[in-house]
Amino acid sequence: MLIRRGPDIKASEITPKEIYLSRRHLLGGMAGAGLIAGLGGKADAAPLTAGKSAFSTDEAPTSLKDITSYNNFYEFGTDKSEPARNAHRLTTSPWTVKVDGMVAKPTTFALEDLLKPAKLEERIYRMRCVEGWSMVIPWVGFPLADLLARVEPLGSAKYVAFETALRPEEMTGVGGFFKVLDWPYREGLRLDEALHPLTLLAVGLYGETLPNQNGAPLRLVVPWKYGFKGIKSIVRITLTDKEPQTSWNMQAPQEYGFYSNVNPDVDHPRWSQATERRIGEGGLFAKRRPTLPFNGYADQVAGLYAGMDLRKFY
């Protein structure tokens, strides 16, 4: 496996906080920190200690402001500005995660216990949204494989299913007459994808705990797949021998497959996937850039799909 060397310093060390808080200048006299606090979730952000990772890209990270104000988290509204406004309602402490199914040691973890043995790393990953835009995000987290090792998957387990919390009293977007999605939000990976060292359970970004709109307190990050695979605010992880149901596939199976690997050659039926716009790069006149197979992680992950027709298994 080819692993590209990343930089030796963390993004939060290279970039002074005032600058990454507002890489592009904030107007209207709002102080960066004040604005971020007002966006929800960041008010009680706690610093995290994290080591560096060879998996990190050396591309410039997207500003904290853009990462925390442009989110798809439909539980808090379908507009990308809504999660930043509404997600502060989500109670993230106490939080428990149930890990069950085909494992030797099914466990319901309190979040603190789940995190106690975790060795946190900063992973600066590219994130490519299925809608044709991308960011570079300095996550803090640990490999999903480490958690799975603790519950000891059985030989019969082939897939991992994930579930987001469903709390109608806190989530402004799950009610209503037209159900946006069939809640709770569900995602899934093949077991070998789940065990891949790039696959991350993230608990923070930019050196601090996750803002709610980014999926606090615990979310999945699979950098070679479209962003919606990165399920947020996880409450359940189940090992199974059947391909799990996934929310967007249930909603529109001809548009969103189970795999959803970033692939410039397989268009979404309603838009091309050949190019993407990097958020924060060039403002109004930002140019599109070509999208890379597996979002640029082909060296590490293409082998997982050897012999598979990726047009069929999109």
Binding site: R24, H25, L27, G28, K65, D66, S69, Y70, Y74, T78, D79, K80, S81, E131, W133, G176, F178, K179, V180, L181, W248, Q251, A252, D267, P269, R270, W271, S272, A274, T275, R277, I279, G280, G283, L284, F285, A286, K287, R288
Partner: protein
């Protein structure tokens, strides 16, 4: 209906101030986009904002006739300005898509128009509005003659329908806004089909 004041039923203000007024949202959107106040993806936000204003103006234009028939409010003198503004917003929306969204990548634009149903339908909407904008001058109305001109301008119905369908097709899942816009447009179009409840409106349908 006689209770309504005359300035509302038969306003005497000229229509020309509508043109500068009507462009305020477009200018405001553009200024916000340039000064980085439209969020993380300003090009997309500008494109969407212009599209939404186009749809609102189309709805306003379609509402003029029912307003007169139901409430006795006669704003027909403003309808041309509203229709032209709607066309300009669609045009700006199209230009934003071509220049800022696609960076004038003609292969990508061509593929989009041919292969993405929501773009195909949007383009159809634009092409249907184009002859209406071109025949909006007094000289053209005279040249075509009232009856033919009115027949031609019924193209606004399929254009409005295309705009609503375009919005419904482009969103993921079922957010509320495109459904509301589509419902209003379908209701305004259905009004033209149902002859009941229209006091003296049968002679001139538009």
């Amino acid at each position: 209906m006689a209770a309504l004041p005359r300035w509302l039923r038969q306003p005497s203000l000229p229509d020309w101030p509508l043109y500068p007024l009507g462009f305020i949202p477009a200018i405001w959107l553009f200024v916000q986009a340039v000064t980085d106040n439209l969020g993380a993806d300003p090009a997309k936000a500008l494109e969407r904002g212009l599209g939404e204003w186009a749809l609102r103006l189309i709805i306003l234009g379609l509402a003029i006739t029912p307003l007169r028939q139901v409430a006795g409010i006669n704003w027909v003198r403003y309808r041309r300005a509203i229709g032209l503004l709607a066309f300009f917003y669609v045009l700006l929306h199209l230009i934003t898509y071509m220049v800022l969204d696609q960076g004038l990548d003609w292969t990508a634009i061509g593929a989009d128009i041919l292969r993405r149903p929501y773009i195909t339908i949007g383009m159809l909407g634009f092409l249907l509005l184009l002859p209406l904008a071109l025949t909006s001058t007094n000289a053209m109305i005279r040249r075509l003659g009232g009856a033919r001109w009115r027949r031609l301008h019924r193209l606004v119905y399929p254009a409005a329908f295309a705009g609503a369908a375009h919005y419904l097709l482009l969103v993921k899942s079922w957010p509320l806004e495109p459904i509301i816009y589509a419902a209003i447009i379908v209701a305004l179009l259905a009004w033209r089909l149902v002859p009941v409840g229209k006091a003296g409106g049968r002679a001139e349908r538009a």
